[in-house]
Symmetry: C2
């Protein structure tokens, strides 16, 4: 049986060009002991993958040039030499960017039995959901009644962060760009604020209008003017969970940071970066809390779906151009 997969042919500078991604084919070997073969149904593309394309070790190891790329995926087991993972099981795993994955069984997780679509485990019940939940609760110590600001608020992580904060009884303000994203925020009870065509000062004023009592928690996905505007509106003892700074991921030369970082002193505020992988031991706890609410339809989780393995690079690149509402997914045929 053959597997078709993407490789990275060179480490990009700036926004990666489409040509850097090459679609390859290989004949899969027989399964070794305790291995599984999986037909992928859904592939995940995520901004953090840009960090694996730098050739420099950050918090994840770089993609190896010419080797199959990796990423979250959901599929069905079609062959197994492992006692615990059986043919027909639906599983989540990291063998994405390909149609057929062949992996050690210990690297795959059989999906739990909640009444949700299987791709939810790449979004609201997967890494993005767990990231939103961890940042909000564990890093920013969000409490009912807090004024919570989220940047990239209609993105995969942001769209869950705003809804988790709403469910907690917070006043939530979301920053986004396109009109349909702002409309979606409003539809889930979030105060929408656009960053488009605004300076940091103008964005700060707009946040103040949306949250006259200031900001207690800021869930940061963007950096740039969003961070500068948020710093200006912090309340005393505010907590900033830094999930990412997508604004800078493709920067060819370093862009200056906010000029008002001393607000951290003035407001006695905390700003803390985190990587969800470090908190994965809480995943079961997260799932117990959030999965029943998802099954009950309590969250409006958005998906943007591209069709076919070939569209994976385009799906990934669209993340940096505001091309997704909610979780960006690739749906495979078959």
């Amino acid at each position: 049986m053959q597997s078709r997969y993407f490789t990275l042919t060179d480490y990009p500078t700036g926004l990666p060009r489409r040509e850097l991604f090459a679609l390859e084919t290989q004949e899969l070997p027989e399964l070794g002991p305790n291995e599984v073969r999986i037909r992928n149904h859904w592939l995940s593309v995520d901004p953090y993958m840009r960090g694996r394309m730098s050739g420099i070790r950050t918090y994840v190891t770089p993609f190896e040039l010419g080797k199959p790329m990796e990423g979250g995926a959901i599929g069905e087991v079609i062959e197994s030499t492992d006692a615990k993972v059986k043919v027909g099981d639906r599983v989540s795993h990291m063998g994405g960017w390909r149609d057929i994955a062949q992996l050690p069984a210990q690297g795959v997780t059989v999906l739990p039995d909640h009444d949700v679509p299987e791709q939810a485990y790449l979004g609201i019940l997967g890494m993005p959901g767990m990231t939103a939940w961890t940042g909000l609760n564990r890093i920013a110590e969000c409490k009912p009644g807090d004024n919570v600001l989220v940047s990239a608020a209609s993105g995969a992580v942001g769209s869950l962060a705003v809804q988790l904060a709403k469910a907690k009884g917070c006043h939530v303000i979301g920053i986004a760009g396109a009109a349909h994203k702002l409309a979606w925020l409003e539809s889930v009870g979030v105060e929408p604020v656009t960053y488009k065509d605004r300076t940091a000062g103008e964005l700060s004023d707009a946040i103040q209008l949306a949250s006259p009592e200031g900001i207690d928690v800021y869930f940061e996905n963007v950096g740039g003017i969003c961070l500068e505007a948020a710093l200006s509106q912090l309340n005393e003892g505010a907590r900033i969970a830094v999930c990412g700074m997508i604004d800078s991921y493709n920067a060819e030369k370093p862009a200056p940071g906010p000029s008002n970082l001393s607000q951290l002193v003035v407001r006695k505020a905390k700003m803390q970066g985190f990587i969800v992988a470090d908190h994965w031991s809480n995943y079961g706890y997260f799932l117990n809390e959030v999965a029943p609410q998802v099954a009950a339809g309590k969250f409006d989780y958005q998906e943007t779906v591209k069709e076919g393995l070939e569209s994976t690079p385009e799906a990934f690149l669209a993340l940096f151009e505001g091309g997704n509402t909610g979780k960006m997914l690739v749906k495979l045929e078959g």
Copy 2:
């Protein structure tokens, strides 16, 4: 009896001009009930006072134009209508920028009985010492064996932070400018690193050379290139205590922040501002721990002393030009 005191005549932009400070004289009224009259021996000038000259409420209320300015001071009680504070008591209080202070007795603290010079209660055993101790222990959660970086490391707060960290068994790196400051750092067992004529990148390289195993704790007093260089050298889980950012206090227009703030995510680091006043309930605990060590000569605390009430504005302004090693003090005659 007369009191001579400084007032601020206007709120400055940028570095305050000397002419903004006016020396005035007033005839003091009779003492009311529970009041004390104090002959000041020592006045404190501190960078945070710049924040009180902005006319905008930050974490301290602005100085009122034309009214006596305020600041830490040590003096001797020469008249009292209060049962607890007696004539002859040596006290610390906030009625500085003047020779004779007249205050409610509840606003003064009788100095404890440690064998230290009285002005130590404006420095190592006062607000700067308490600031260093709080930032290091309570905010940055410094542990024995940590690699600790301190900016403005020979300043009033920095010079205590480096020595407290040394006493804790840490490897300590200090950033300073002038040669005699670097020499002093070396004399107390701290790795000296100069920021002079260096870019952020060059400073980062110099820090790496002084601390090849990275930085676990950064005690931040400066901002600017010091922060950018420090961010590049953080270890995983590093903690930054932001005490101040003196680099920006006199800036007439906002200077950009560091371009590498996303290191907070990559290194899962925490950056937290604090104001020592919020932690004053620990002052007794701090004094019990540190005062006996000061009395035993375990710390080399530096002072820069200007003579006479008239020199107070010059002493204050010199803080922004590297004019002090350790605590800047004004010594009054009589």
